[in-house]
């Protein structure tokens, strides 16, 4: 009897924790389908006639549409370039660098941890002076710091997990270094590499400060979303909810991938 009560209590506690994790998100999604009069009620409403009004408002709003477009271009290009430069570097770091490896990895990691303000302030002056302020290219350039360093940081362990024997065998067959990398190491490490790219994507997609300082008209979606509150007198909560949902969707799609990624990281972290 006591154990039954105990079990129920612990079940209840866990359920509460899951509720705390998810309810805020679900509530926002629900809110995005509500008319303003269903939101501004003294008692929260669960039953209401859903509306797509908020989403149509958003998608018809030119600044949000542009923000979305800019986000896609900026994030896409900077992650792609991050992969192009970062993955080969990570491979060489994992396989061919011995003495300087720690120093190089420390450098990469320290960039990851650089406070964005310390990047934003000098770059805004340089960008204003050189005329690339408020351009997509300018934002992509500063994002390369994050994407290249994150891709390297997360891809080195992925290449270290590729069995050395395969590469050694390929070298015996007379494959060049480049061939070994492209034909053997890359395909074997691909799943983990994909995970590191996803992580990088989420990081840049979510970024606010650099986009806020280094762009004005050509800002990304987080900047546009952050500025909605100041539109007009009445706080358009439905519209805010809807734009939050749009902002949230791309990263959330990757939740399963992140889970697999954590599993692998933990597994190799403690051999």
């Amino acid at each position: 009897m006591v154990s039954l009560i105990r079990r129920t209590v612990s079940r209840g506690f866990l359920a509460l924790m899951i509720l705390i994790a998810l309810l805020p998100i679900l509530w926002t999604i629900l809110g995005s389908f509500k008319k303003l009069k269903d939101i501004v009620t003294p008692v929260p409403t669960l039953i209401f006639t859903p509306t797509l009004e908020n989403f149509t408002t958003i998608l018809q709003n030119p600044s949000i549409r542009d923000g979305l477009g800019n986000s896609v271009v900026i994030v896409g290009v900077s992650v792609l370039l991050g992969a192009l430069f970062g993955i080969p570097a990570a491979y060489s770091l994992a396989r061919h660098v011995e003495r300087k490896k720690d120093d190089l990895q420390f450098f990469v990691l320290s960039l990851r941890f650089m406070p964005p303000v310390a990047i934003a302030i000098p770059f805004i002056i340089i960008y204003l002076d050189s005329g690339i302020y408020d351009t997509l290219a300018g934002l992509i350039l500063v994002y390369l710091i994050s994407t290249i360093s994150t891709v390297i940081w997360l891809s080195v362990p992925a290449f270290e997990r590729v069995p050395r024997e395969i590469e050694e065998a390929a070298a015996m067959e007379g494959c060049s270094q480049a061939e070994i990398f492209i034909k053997f190491a890359l395909p074997i490490a691909a799943p983990s590499l994909f995970g590191s790219l996803v992580f990088t994507f989420v990081l840049v997609w979510n970024e606010l400060l650099l986009a806020l300082t280094l762009a004005a008209e050509n800002a990304t979606l987080p900047v546009v979303a952050a500025s909605i509150t100041s539109l007009g007198k009445e706080v358009p909560w439905g519209v805010i909810n809807a734009s939050t949902v749009i902002l949230v969707l791309p990263p959330l799609v990757f939740i399963g991938l992140l889970m697999g990624f954590i599993n692998r990281m933990v597994a190799t972290g403690r051999k």
């Binding site: 866990l14 430069f85 303000v117 979303a225």
Partner: protein
């Protein structure tokens, strides 16, 4: 020979881009921090350490330093406490792998949210007139609480959101780490009639010392970039009660007349603090886990 060329051409482009960008931002910040550049006027002069000197006498800067310190302690300690407590709790009460996976999935969702989105979600929940939380406290008989407008509460209300994102994320990692631990020491302790909390306090947590320290480091450095969350939730207010260093640097450099040189000096100090903390802890981890 051919191998060396391959190594060079794979490493050189990536590292030169990184080095140039890092150098430009650090050197740029250093250079502008000894000038009196503002965004309004194109010409500027050398002023030496004047900006740094002024920082030390700037109440608002000292306040930001204090807020940042409180923010660091609350969010790092909060996230780790939540992670340790919840992961042990789940580890002990939930045996089925499927349920554990479902819990993990739910706990991973918050950290994936853009900070801007998390900030909006919670601003909505915290709202005194139409927020869900104030409705619930209202049912319990408490009047509407001004979570974000009360200077005493605002910083902690924002910290709750940060812990909501990172504490739950770390819970998942800690749970996975607990699962990888060898069973023998735990079973040995059970044979000695150790209580569950004793097993975790004296057996499993000491075994996880190194990863817990790395998590603390990651969170400590991550907490220094609190800008997104605080900017959207309170904008540093009410007053300056939630204004951290990066927020003040932004306000001074971009918003308030664009005193970029002053902000540069601030970001140099921020960079210095980050680097010192980061290097010390990095060395510490190497030594401990070696």
């Amino acid at each position: 020979m051919q191998k060396q060329r391959f190594v060079f051409w794979t490493l050189a482009p990536a590292f030169s881009i990184l080095a140039i960008l890092a150098l430009v931002s650090v050197a740029g910040a250093l250079y502008f921090s000894v000038m009196d550049r503002s965004l309004r006027y194109p010409d500027y002069d050398f002023v030496g350490l004047y900006n740094y000197q002024r920082l030390l006498g700037d109440r608002r800067f000292l306040n930001a330093l204090k807020i940042s310190a409180i923010w660091e302690v609350v969010t790092v300690a909060g996230s780790l406490l939540v992670a340790v407590f919840l992961s042990v709790y789940i580890f002990e009460t939930t045996r089925s792998a499927r349920t554990r996976n479902l819990i993990c999935l739910a706990f991973l969702a918050p950290v994936l949210l853009p900070r801007v989105a998390a900030a909006f979600i919670w601003r909505f929940l915290y709202s005194p007139s139409l927020g869900l939380i104030n409705y619930l406290t209202g049912l319990l008989g408490f009047g509407p609480i001004e979570f974000l407008a009360d200077p005493q509460l605002a910083l902690f209300s924002v910290a709750v959101v940060d812990i909501w994102q990172w504490g739950l994320f770390f819970t998942v990692i800690m749970l996975k780490l607990l699962e990888t631990l060898p069973r023998d020491p735990i079973e040995a302790a059970q044979l000695d009639n150790a209580k569950t909390w004793e097993i975790h306090a004296y057996v499993t947590m000491p075994m996880l010392k190194a990863p817990v320290i790395s998590l603390a480091l990651v969170k400590a450095v991550e907490s220094l970039r609190s800008f997104d969350l605080i900017f959207v939730m309170t904008g540093g207010g009410p007053g300056t009660s939630t204004e951290t260093l990066d927020l003040y640097a932004y306000q001074a450099g971009i918003n308030l007349g664009g005193r970029v040189s002053y902000a540069s000096a601030m970001s140099i100090l921020l960079l210095l603090i980050t680097t010192v903390v980061f290097t010390l802890v990095w060395r510490g981890i190497r030594k401990w886990s070696a």
